[in-house]
Symmetry: C2
Subunit: 461 residues, 2 copies
């Protein structure tokens, strides 16, 4: 049963007409046949006052699962309408990392109500989690994991899972700790099920544990989960005590956010986590104006170069016609190289020691691309621009200047495009700040210098 875009809207229509006919039990039935994630998607189609009403029609066990998937505005509206009892019922079913995620997005009054309706122990844990820096591993972990002792048997372990597992975000990876809560091993439920009841955990557990620190970046956690194909990654505090786990679904979300952030940076946008449609015009402006302004002002260099060669341009105005083509092509060529290198750095395929290997390769790629484009361009200008469109002032020498500029500027563009992100990374900047627009601006100036230098040398203007 796969619910596509169109169906969601149809179901929403259906529910609203059932609501007008007061056929609430039929609405309940529709909800109970859907996956909570889809129910949450459905809720976005309803007006706020109906969201609360419909939420109360959800089967108890699905209400919390649906709640987690709702967007923040809907969550807030529903909490406001909730009685304390209703709020407690939902909170009891949530995993702690989800509760913390919700708290982080709610206004202070709602946060107070949430904390008032949780028990003292849970409140303590929430407060601890809230203290971890944003984007840290600690901020996305959950303290709800299965912990075992080394002298447990497989039977003990399975009993413990059966007793406590209902509240754990995952039971499939269990962590073995010593008396001081230090992490000493890890064992999967698969291992447990495939061994005899009286085998001992310490003989079965994997002692080569890969873990992360609470203060490490969440991106590192996601990278480790992907690299090692784990379902969960243990998180330890400064004293190496196990304090939480990060599950693979959270890692996926981090990964998607990081990818979005990279794409934003690569296009000269200050990263912003909000979905596009939720951002105000002012917020959108704020995320875009800084780079646009910086790049516009940086273009002063190209204006000065053009101004300096003003007399030469007047003498041979046809040279102007090819400026956008030349700057455009070098910007594109450089942008290709920087995008590929930024991605390769982010996938850990290359690092600083590869810089000469990379530059040598880009030199050759630039040379071949430059020669190919120059050849096509040479013929195109002669046959199309000059003969077909009758553009004035094109001579063989002019054509040569333009085509030679292409070869040189493309080699430069590839070298600049590949070297800048690697150097940025080395200097501890995010390589993705070397955006295509930035490369374009640098290449505009460089290309014009090459163009005028060649024009002076060959055309003697």
């Amino acid at each position: 049963m796969k619910l596509e875009e169109m169906q969601i809207e149809e179901i929403a229509q259906e529910i609203i007409s059932l609501y007008h006919e007061k056929k609430y039990s039929q609405i309940k039935e529709i909800f109970s046949e859907m996956n909570p994630t889809d129910v949450a998607g459905l809720f976005e189609e309803f007006a706020p006052e109906r969201q609360v009403l419909f939420f109360r029609l959800l089967p108890k066990e699905e209400a919390a699962e649906t709640f987690v998937e709702l967007d923040n505005d809907t969550q807030e509206a529903i909490i406001r309408a909730f009685s304390d009892t209703e709020l407690r019922e939902v909170l009891d079913e949530l995993y702690l990392d989800d509760t913390v995620d919700i708290i982080e997005e709610m206004p202070a009054t709602i946060v107070k109500r949430i904390l008032k309706n949780t028990d003292a122990h849970t409140r303590d844990m929430i407060n601890t989690l809230l203290k971890y820096p944003e984007d840290s591993a600690g901020s996305i972990m959950t303290p709800e994991f299965v912990d075992l002792k080394r002298n447990n048997t497989v039977e003990d372990a399975i009993k413990r899972i059966r007793r406590t597992g209902v509240d754990k975000e995952t039971i499939y990876t269990c962590y073995v700790t010593d008396e001081s809560r230090h992490l000493i091993g890890v064992i999967t439920v698969k291992e447990l099920l495939l061994h005899d009841n009286d085998d001992r955990i310490e003989d079965l557990m994997e002692e080569k544990v890969i873990y992360i620190n609470t203060h490490d970046d969440q991106e590192k956690a996601a990278d480790l989960l992907i690299k090692y194909d784990f379902l969960a990654l243990p998180v330890v505090d400064m004293e190496n005590r196990l304090v939480g786990i990060i599950t693979v679904d959270d890692a996926m979300d981090v990964l998607q956010d990081e990818n979005t952030e990279d794409i934003q940076k690569m296009n000269a946008i200050v990263p912003n986590e909000k979905p596009y449609l939720k951002m105000s015009v002012f917020e959108t402006w704020k995320s875009r104006i800084m780079w646009l302004m910086f790049l516009m002002v940086s273009a002063t260099f190209t204006s000065l170069i053009l101004n300096a060669f003003e007399n030469k341009l007047s003498a041979m105005i046809v040279l102007t016609s090819f400026i956008p083509m030349l700057t455009g092509t070098s910007g594109n060529a450089g942008g290709q190289a920087s995008a590929v290198i930024i991605r390769a750095i982010s996938l850990k395929e290359i690092n600083y020691k590869d810089i000469f290997k990379v530059m040598w390769k880009e030199f050759r790629v630039g040379l071949v691309c430059g020669l190919t484009l120059a050849a096509v361009n040479f013929v195109k200008i002669w046959l199309i621009d000059r003969s077909l469109f009758g553009m004035d002032g094109i001579t063989i020498k002019v054509d040569l200047v333009i085509s030679l500029t292409l070869v040189i500027e493309i080699i430069f563009a590839k070298m600049v495009g590949c070297a800048f992100p690697i150097i940025a990374k080395k200097l501890k900047f995010d390589p993705a700040v070397i955006s295509s627009p930035f490369i374009t601006t640098v290449m505009d100036a460089l290309s014009l210098l090459v163009y005028f230098w060649l024009a002076t040398a060959i055309l003697h203007i």
Copy 2:
């Protein structure tokens, strides 16, 4: 124990010196203390002839896990050096989807050897998997899952997992099928462990099963796994029979590949799955030249526009100095909008019905960005370009033409940048083909037209 980049190189050095001293047992010990993924990373530091030798020092159970993580060249070298017995030992330990992945990358002689060394049943399954179209869900699924019957009890189920689980890629999600192998329900090991031994599967199983078809795109599988936070997704054939599952680790890989592909397309590169350092100069050239060529030739429009206004430019050569700034800024503004919209489409945040909402928003963002930039630019040209750098020919009217062009071109750029990807998607093209370089080329021509139109109107040239 986290192994960072530097350590890997140090360990490789250590192993090579131990090898020269013939201390093989110490090498074995180092390997056994490392995670197979890290051992594979280590192998890339060794020369090919040593890779085979070192591979034989791996503990049996870890050899296969390491093998899967090696790059294709190393895998090929090792298989070539293997005896049939050694090959069979590794193949027996591999999950079928991994075997298929390896086969797809190997030359025909190696494929023959692999198939010769698998039993008839496995060979049949491999051949079936190989037949699914590239990038389809079928091509990344594995047929090794736990299947249960509706009248099983929890105890039966756990027994079945214990008996057959060792060969299954995941045991944590079990699938309930009827006599004709149709998928009728799904149950997790967590559910099994939390219920009594004599509870019946049909009373516990989730009947709202989300599944995918073998011929659906693998990207859809990854999207579903993320959306619903599943550990595995069932795959059914045309007759709705359960034929395989896709696990979350494979979905993560698909996701990363798709993100890489989007970044490549957004920067005018023909997508290529090979890691950067594995691509030859010719392959790199091939992936980049097509778009560079197309965009270069498209720039003929800008050349023609400039040529048409040649006389006006001669009359007021200062106008030329600001062409790269104007085209650059409109390209950047349009690139920002298209990148954000392409990403939002790929994250399913917006679709066709949002086009007017999006355009209205981008109109306002463009207006505010345009006004901000124009104001700064107006002052900058007057005080810096004219007074400080003494650029000739700048008058208030010239300054006005340039600044007004900014406002209009930025609004155009934002509208073009947001509308093109949505329309491309509607026309069943990949929105990411609307690359920033493409937007830049379109905006170059549009900006020049606006510029000359304003210059003619205001400066009467």
